[in-house]
Amino acid sequence: MDDFLLYLTNGLLLGVIYALSALGVSLIVGIMNVINFAHGELYVLAGYFSALFAHALGLPIPVAMALAVGLVFVFGLLIERTLIQPTYGNDMYSLIITFILSIVLQNAYLFIFGPYPQKPPNWVTGSTHLFGLFYYGNQRLASFLAGAAVIALLFLLIKKTWFGKMVRAVAQDREMASMVGVNSTRVNMLSFALGCALAAAAGVILAPIFPVNPTASVGISLTAFVVVVLGGMGSLEGCVVGGILLGVVQNLGAAYVSSGYKHFFGFLILVLVLTVRPSGLFGRKEI
């Protein structure tokens, strides 16, 4: 029973993390109908940056993290402007381009950062005795809290601010939004970059726990896609619920079936969802 609770806690914590790293994909799909295959690579890039800034430049950890996220945001703007904008209206081409970009980035990381995992310093040390049952690493708890905070901030941004209103308008009806004066090209650029920054946020928050290496990105992207489909394309709420669900299922599955099959369950969920309810848990109703 203690074991079960441990796996469940692990799953919940990981679930928030999954939700965090999938939000960027979900945001971009919802607004632009573009799947960003290079999502995981941006996560990894931010992980590298934060490690580099903290270790090599000796910057304080929060500054290193903020700088890393900021740089990836700018990188996202550049990607949108140079690669995604010319593909508007052709979803297939944006898919192909971001897929190629992901391979390019993976190999560039190998070239620049080398094959070995890198890790920014921990924010905190030690562990906490949870529920009087087991010890849990403080860094994991801190990352969990930071992840939850980022998710909360994103929801505030989308639901409460002017920017959020514009984004939702474009996501709902691009034509109408541009008729009432929303510059949808600029909204696209900003939301794509914001999606990238979310990947980066996940990267800097998680890199202390899961060190980054050039191919770590593949698993991150795939997990994010599973979460997005599970929650329903473009639904941010669905993304959170889907992330937590996936985290729990994966951890219980890995514990009670076989750890080698940990990721298998995620893909199985994805295929099942697509068969039974393609719109996902919180999918938008189609007109």
Binding site: V29, N33, I35, T82, L83, P86, D91, M92, Y93, L95, I96, I97, F99, I100, L101, I103, V104, N107, A108, L110, F111, V218, L222, F225, V226, V229, M233, S258, G260, Y261, H263, F264, F267, L268, L270, V271, L274, T275, P278
Partner: protein
């Protein structure tokens, strides 16, 4: 292109293929065989992506299915490799049909994501079922022919490749090919004209997957070692990059792209594993600035040759 030129080119190509094993050393013969494998993979992926607009990420996975099924037939049931390859092809066809029916209704992005998930699931299963598949160690399988000869393996692969290209060419020029393009251009309009869009899409997916299964099976038996690397995203990327660089949606594109990239990779191999990075950058550049690839550039440069088409 004028018909006579086509014949002349084909004749020349045949000639080159026929004498290549006599003049090329072992190393280049091996490269040529790899080229043939990539040509089969890229041409069949192009039939799906370039002519029906469906970006599948499971093409390498279907090659893996062909290779593993055929290899296991040889090891566990002692089937001759060529017969095993047919079984591998059949299994790829059936799985392609199942996967196609499952995800093509939803189209677009969903197909890409489902095929990606499918290929990763398959890779996990193969990695983990060590007793049967030998996991990452790889499965040792018999040579494609009863006797070992690179030259004959080349002739065999060459014949199959030409056969496959012929079939693809026939499909493109047939009513089925016209339906493919109609569905790619505008599925709503196609449906309004009586085209069963889902059936056409699934047909393309099954045909393309079956061809990948055949290519994978032959490649596995040539290589004599099948590893999960064959269904990795790396191979998928190579196939995609070859098609894009050669020219998505053109018949010659994937052939040109496959030969070009494979030969290029032999030349830049000395720079280590970074040839993938270079391919990626080239593919990115081409997909951004010349979406019709090398073949498209050629046509722009020499428009008259194609005017009579």
């Amino acid at each position: 292109m004028p018909r006579s030129l086509v014949w002349l080119l084909s004749l020349g190509l045949f000639g080159v293929l026929a004498v290549l094993p006599l003049v090329a050393g072992d190393y280049w013969l091996h490269t040529a065989i790899l080229c043939l494998f990539y040509v089969m993979m890229a041409a069949s992926w192009n039939l799906l992506a370039g002519y029906t607009g469906q970006v599948s990420f499971s093409h390498a996975a279907f090659a893996g299915i062909g290779a593993y099924v055929s290899g296991m037939c040889a090891i566990y049931f002692h089937l001759p490799p060529l017969l095993g390859a047919l079984v591998g092809m059949a299994v790829a066809a059936v799985l392609g049909l199942l996967l196609g029916v499952l995800c093509i209704r939803m189209g677009g992005i969903y197909l890409s994501l489902t095929t990606l998930a499918f290929s990763e699931m398959l890779r996990i299963v193969i990695d983990n079922e060590y007793e049967i598949t030998r996991g990452t160690m790889g499965l040792s399988v018999p040579f494609v022919l009863p006797f070992y000869s690179k030259a004959w393996a080349f002739y065999l692969m060459g014949a199959v490749t030409l056969g496959l290209l012929y079939v693809i060419h026939r499909i493109i020029r047939s009513d089925l090919g016209t339906a493919f393009r109609a569905v790619q251009n505008d599925e709503t309009a196609a449906a309004s004209l009586g085209i069963h869009v889902v059936k056409i899409r699934v047909a393309a997916f099954v045909i393309s997957s079956t061809m990948a299964g055949l290519a994978g099976a032959l490649y596995g038996h040539y290589h004599q070692l099948i590893t999960p690397e064959i269904l990795s995203l790396n191979l998928m990327f190579l196939v995609l990059a070859m098609t894009i660089i050669g020219g998505l949606g053109t018949f010659a594109g994937p052939v040109v792209g496959a030969v070009f990239l494979e030969v290029l990779s032999e030349y830049i191999r000395i720079y280590g594993e970074f040839h993938v990075l270079i391919f990626g950058l080239v593919a990115l550049f081409i997909s951004r600035f010349a979406p019709e690839g090398l073949v498209g550039l050629w046509r722009k440069r020499f428009p008259t040759l194609d005017a009579q088409r």
